[in-house]
Each structure stands twice: as structure tokens, then as C-alpha cells.
């Protein structure tokens, strides 16, 4: 399997607070990774480090056999797209204008879009069914619609690596499944998706591989079918759960007990 990222003993701290603590991980091509952990575990920070946005204090991040520090921003933008949690936009851009911005890393400053660019854009508009809102202002959309536009913008960037930070937080179950299916298809094509997730059942359903973080420390990692059990959930989230096999899909499911918090 082709190695995409090697994280070698990385540390990140902000204002004297250690957020990522001696983390070592490998990411391989064509897999769907889920990063799981409680609030403040360092999940978003880890994505920013993988995106090359936050410089680490110690250790090394190797991306495609080169230290991530040796890439310039534009090179990174052609390899990695990030779907952020926050998507508040102050100005009246139309949905179409936002989507076109996804092609900027592939164009020089004053270059206009090519046929290939339009092919990717139209393909994404079709697969997410964005045509009805294409000419609306981003400021007049609902939270869920905005999130789908931001998601589409990242797909249009057309990168082999996609980092997703709680990408389905504002979506109903229909659109959640739509987005996750699109991500799955990207992974089948050989792209790599790394997503932070709060919905465990969704993570189990889609991720090939899970990474459990708590307080900046790696708790465990491994194939979804192997590494997920009640003991890990208890250790990471401090909550009692029942994990069973769904008899239709033969996949693991999680049920959290009422009052299962350990005070």
C-alpha cells in the first residue's frame, strides 16, 4: 500500500498547552479514516497539521515522501482539500462564485477557467444536485445548504487527499448519507479521506480505519472491524455502550446506555 502521510513523533502546543502529544501515525492511499475523540481531544488540530496549516513544534510530518515543510502553499492546495467546521461568510457571493474558487489553486492569478475545470465543476453540481441554488447568495442559504456548498467547493478542488472536519454536523440524515456516499466513492477511486466524526454509527458504517484520540494522545488505532469495542468507548468517552452486529449488514452498531456516564 502506498504511504501518504507519516507522522513521526509530533508535538503541537498553543500558549504553553500541549494539544498533540508525541503522536506517530501512518496513513495509506485509498482508505477512509475516521478520527474519533471527545471535545478538545485535538482532532481539529490534527487535521490542520495534516493540511500543513499549523506548524508543529516537534517531530516530522512526511507527505508523499517529502517533509510537509518543503511544500509551498499552492502545491499543498493541489494535494489536500479541507472542509472546515465553520463556514460563516459575510459577503453576498453567489453559490456559483464560491464553487469556482475551488479551482483557484489550479489556475494562475488572472487565468480563466478551462474546459477541464468546467467539467469538474458541473460534475460536482450534478452529483450534489446544487443546480436549484446555483445563483442564490450564500448569505441567504440555510445552514445545511451552506455546508453542502462548502463541501462541493472542496470536491471541486479535486485533490487526492480530503480532510473533513465534522462535515455533516448540520445535515439531516438524507444529505448526511449523500455526502458520505460521495466520500466513499472518492475512496474507491483511490483518493484518501480523513474525517473527524462525532457520530459513531456513521463512522463504523463508512470508515475503513479508526483513530481514537484523547487529550492529544493516541489511545488506539486500527481497522474498524477489529478495534472498536465497549472497552475503548469507555476509555475514550467515559460512557457505557453496547456494541452488537446488525443482522442485515453484518456491521457493528453502537448503542449508548441512558445514564451511562461515569461521573
Amino acid at each position: 500500500m502506498t504511504n501518504i502521510y507519516i507522522l513521526d513523533n509530533i508535538n503541537f502546543s498553543f500558549k504553553d498547552k500541549l494539544i498533540i502529544n508525541n503522536l506517530s501515525l501512518n496513513f495509506y492511499k485509498g482508505l477512509f479514516y475516521g478520527i474519533i475523540g471527545p471535545n478538545g481531544a485535538g482532532k481539529t488540530t490534527l487535521l490542520d497539521i495534516l493540511a500543513g496549516i499549523k506548524p508543529i513544534n516537534k517531530g516530522k510530518v512526511i507527505l508523499f515522501k517529502r517533509d510537509i515543510k518543503t511544500y509551498n502553499r499552492k502545491e499543498l492546495a493541489k494535494l489536500i482539500a479541507l472542509i472546515p467546521q465553520e463556514y460563516h461568510i459575510e459577503f453576498d457571493f453567489t453559490v456559483e462564485e464560491i464553487l469556482l474558487m475551488g479551482r483557484y489553486p489550479h489556475l494562475t492569478r488572472f487565468q480563466s477557467l478551462t474546459d477541464e475545470d468546467y467539467y469538474i465543476i458541473n460534475d460536482t453540481i450534478k452529483s450534489l444536485n446544487l443546480k436549484p441554488i446555483l445563483h442564490k447568495y450564500i448569505t441567504e442559504l440555510s445552514g445545511g445548504e451552506k455546508q453542502r456548498v462548502i463541501f462541493a467547493r472542496a470536491l471541486i478542488q479535486d485533490t487526492p487527499i480530503l480532510l473533513v472536519d465534522e462535515g455533516t454536523a448540520n445535515l439531516d440524515i438524507y444529505y448526511t448519507i449523500e455526502l458520505m456516499d460521495i466520500l466513499s466513492k472518492k475512496v474507491e477511486k483511490g483518493d484518501t479521506v480523513i474525517a473527524t466524526m462525532h457520530d459513531m454509527n456513521l463512522a463504523v458504517n463508512y470508515c475503513d480505519y479508526l483513530i481514537f484520540l484523547k487529550n492529544g494522545n493516541l489511545i488506539t488505532q486500527g481497522e474498524t472491524s477489529k478495534c472498536l469495542d465497549s472497552k475503548i468507548i469507555k476509555q475514550v468517552f467515559n460512557i457505557e455502550s453496547n456494541i452488537y452486529i446488525d443482522n442485515k449488514t453484518n456491521r457493528k452498531c453502537i448503542y449508548f446506555f441512558r445514564g451511562g456516564r461515569d461521573e
Binding site: A51, R73, I80, E86, M101, Y104
Partner: protein, 344 residues
């Protein structure tokens, strides 16, 4: 509101601007036929005096040495304030921002007040301009260093620092006015803004700042679009938002400082022109920056011509821009709000 094609607007505005420059130069105490104004300008641009054969030398003198410097100063200041307004709104991620949000006007006013009060020699006019410019520059340095004390400059910190520094300077200006006694009218008149008695030297200075500033802003206009998607998204699209914002912040502060230094404080243009243009072509800064520059220039030519040649007495231009533009903007704003409610 339906969006109109960018190039149609660009060409129409450019045409209107040239037309208004010629018309404005023909108006005034001595009326000069527009066609003669046109001939005078062309002959000077081409260094060809044969066109001037049938034109009174007095006319040439009035157009070239009296009216044109004033008209061009108004154009350049209008353009500079308007595209700086677009950039400031983009940099600070705040549609309410304008060129004066960070206290540049207060700094310039403070510098000018000191010069007006304490320095009264024959170079007075240039010294006031120089002091206003320096006042603006020192203010922006103070605001930047105040806002960046944690190493990272956030727009909220910048706006807050701007407000703090502005209010200190305003108190300083009030004190100067109080000390000035009967000379207070000179300060007040400067603060209201005027293009009277502009010289070619001042026009040249503003021209350099506005043109270079415009090119820099236009060069980064696409990045400014991406920056409005937020810090993380722009980083993942390959843009160093902090760096771009810093470059534009310094550029637009210099442009605004140069504008304020020669004209005094002309409000309204930097806030409202960007919003009007946004209603026409949307939020894309690649279109907004050139269109706002043109429309800002037109707006100030009209206002300055009104006060110079149409109204029976000279109204301060800063007052006039707000008096004409304000109600017009209210109307547009109301129409737009109604339109938005209809969509929902």
C-alpha cells in the same frame, strides 16, 4: 436585483468619467465650451499646440492650471477612498468597515490641526498636507502594533485598536480646537474637506499613491475573495491570508493617508460606493475594485462640481457627499431589503 454584465458597467462608467471631467472643466465662473476644453486637454496630452490656435490663452490657463488639478484631485481621491473601502471591508471581514475605520482620518486630522495651529508661514498648505499624511501614518503604526501584541492580527483586534486610537486623537483634536480660540474655524474647515486650491504637485503625489495602490489591490483581489471564506479555507486553497491582509492593509492605509492629506476628511465614499457596486455586480472583488474606483471618482467629481460651479455658495464637499449620497443609499438599501424579504 438582477446583475448587469461587468464589462458593460466598466465601459459605461469609464465613458461617464471622461465626459464628466470635460463637462466639469467647462463649468464655473467663466463658461468655456466643452469642445474647447476637449481640444485643450488633447493638445496638452499630445504636446501638440496646433489645436490651441483659435482658443483664448486665458481659457487654456483656467483649464490647465485652475480647474484640472482640482478635478483630477477629486477623481483620484474618490477612486482611492472607494477601492480602499472595498479592500478594508475584505481585509477586516466586515461590511461596515471603511477607510477611516482604523483611525486614519483622526490621525490625519490631528496632524493637520497641529500644522494649522502652530505653523503659519508661506509653505503652510504643503506643511498641512505633510503633517496630515504623517499623522495618518503614525496612527496606523500605532493601531497595528496595538492590535498585533499577541503576534496574530485578528480583525476584531484591529477594529478595536482603531476605535481606541481614534478616540484618543479625537480628544486631542478637541483640545487643539479649544486652544485655537478664534482660529478654530480654520481647523473645522479643513476637517470638512475641500478640493479648493489643489496644485499639480499634490495631484501628482496622490496619483502615485492611488495608481500603485490600485494595482496592488487589483493584483490581490482574487485572494481577497478566498479570504472571505475564512482563515482555514483560504489556507487550504493555498493562500497566506495573514500575509495578504497585511500587504493590503498597509497599501490601503497609505492610499487613504495620501487622499486625506490633500482633501481633508471626505466621508461616505469609502463605505457606500463599495456597497452600491456590490448591489450591481455581487461580491467578487476582481470586479468590485475597478468599478468602485471609477464610481468613487465620478461621485466626487459631481459633488465637487456642484459645490464649485452650480451652487451659489461653496458647501464643504464632505457634507455634500453625505447629503446627496446618504438618502440615495437609504433608498437603494430599502429596495434591497424588500427584495430579500420577497425571496424568503
Amino acid at each position: 436585483m438582477k446583475r448587469v454584465s461587468f464589462f458593460t458597467i466598466l465601459i459605461s462608467l469609464a465613458f461617464i468619467l471622461i465626459l464628466f471631467i470635460i463637462l466639469s472643466a467647462s463649468m464655473g465662473y467663466i463658461k468655456i465650451p466643452p469642445i474647447e476644453v476637449f481640444k485643450i486637454i488633447i493638445s496638452k496630452l499630445c504636446f501638440d499646440n496646433s489645436l490651441l490656435k483659435n482658443i483664448k490663452p486665458l481659457y487654456t490657463d483656467i483649464v490647465i492650471n485652475v480647474r484640472l488639478p482640482r478635478i483630477l484631485a477629486a477623481c483620484l481621491v474618490g477612486a482611492g477612498l472607494a477601492f480602499s473601502g472595498v479592500s478594508f471591508q475584505g481585509i477586516l471581514l466586515n461590511p461596515l468597515a471603511e477607510p477611516y475605520t482604523l483611525g486614519i482620518s483622526a490621525g490625519a486630522a490631528f496632524g493637520a490641526s497641529i500644522a494649522l495651529l502652530f505653523i503659519t508661514n508661506q509653505f503652510g498648505i504643503y506643511i498641512v498636507t505633510a503633517f496630515a499624511f504623517l499623522g495618518a501614518i503614525f496612527t496606523i503604526i500605532a493601531v497595528l502594533s496595538l492590535a498585533s501584541s499577541v503576534g496574530y492580527i485578528s480583525s476584531n483586534n484591529l477594529i478595536l485598536a482603531g476605535i481606541i486610537v481614534s478616540s484618543i486623537l479625537s480628544a486631542g483634536i478637541s483640545l487643539l480646537k479649544y486652544i485655537a480660540d478664534e482660529r478654530v474655524s480654520v481647523i473645522i474647515f479643513w476637517l470638512l474637506g475641500s478640493f479648493a486650491s489643489e496644485t499639480w504637485l499634490e495631484v501628482l503625489m496622490v496619483f502615485i499613491f492611488v495608481v500603485i495602490g490600485f494595482l496592488i489591490c487589483f493584483y490581490f483581489s482574487r485572494d481577497l475573495n478566498v479570504i472571505s471564506l475564512g482563515e482555514r479555507t483560504s489556507a487550504s486553497l493555498g493562500i497566506n491570508a495573514q500575509q495578504v491582509r497585511m500587504i493590503l492593509l498597509i497599501t490601503c492605509s497609505l492610499v487613504t493617508a495620501a487622499c486625506v492629506a490633500i482633501s481633508g476628511i471626505i466621508g461616505f465614499v469609502g463605505l457606500v460606493v463599495p456597497h452600491l457596486m456590490r448591489l450591481l455586480v455581487g461580491a467578487d472583488n476582481r470586479k468590485l475594485i475597478p468599478l468602485s474606483a471609477l464610481f468613487g471618482a465620478i461621485l466626487l467629481i459631481v459633488a465637487d462640481t456642484l459645490t464649485r460651479a452650480v451652487l451659489p455658495w461653496e458647501v464643504p464637499i464632505g457634507v455634500l457627499t453625505s447629503l446627496i449620497g446618504g438618502p440615495f443609499f437609504c433608498y437603494i438599501f430599502k429596495v434591497k431589503t424588500k427584495h430579500n424579504e420577497l425571496i424568503k
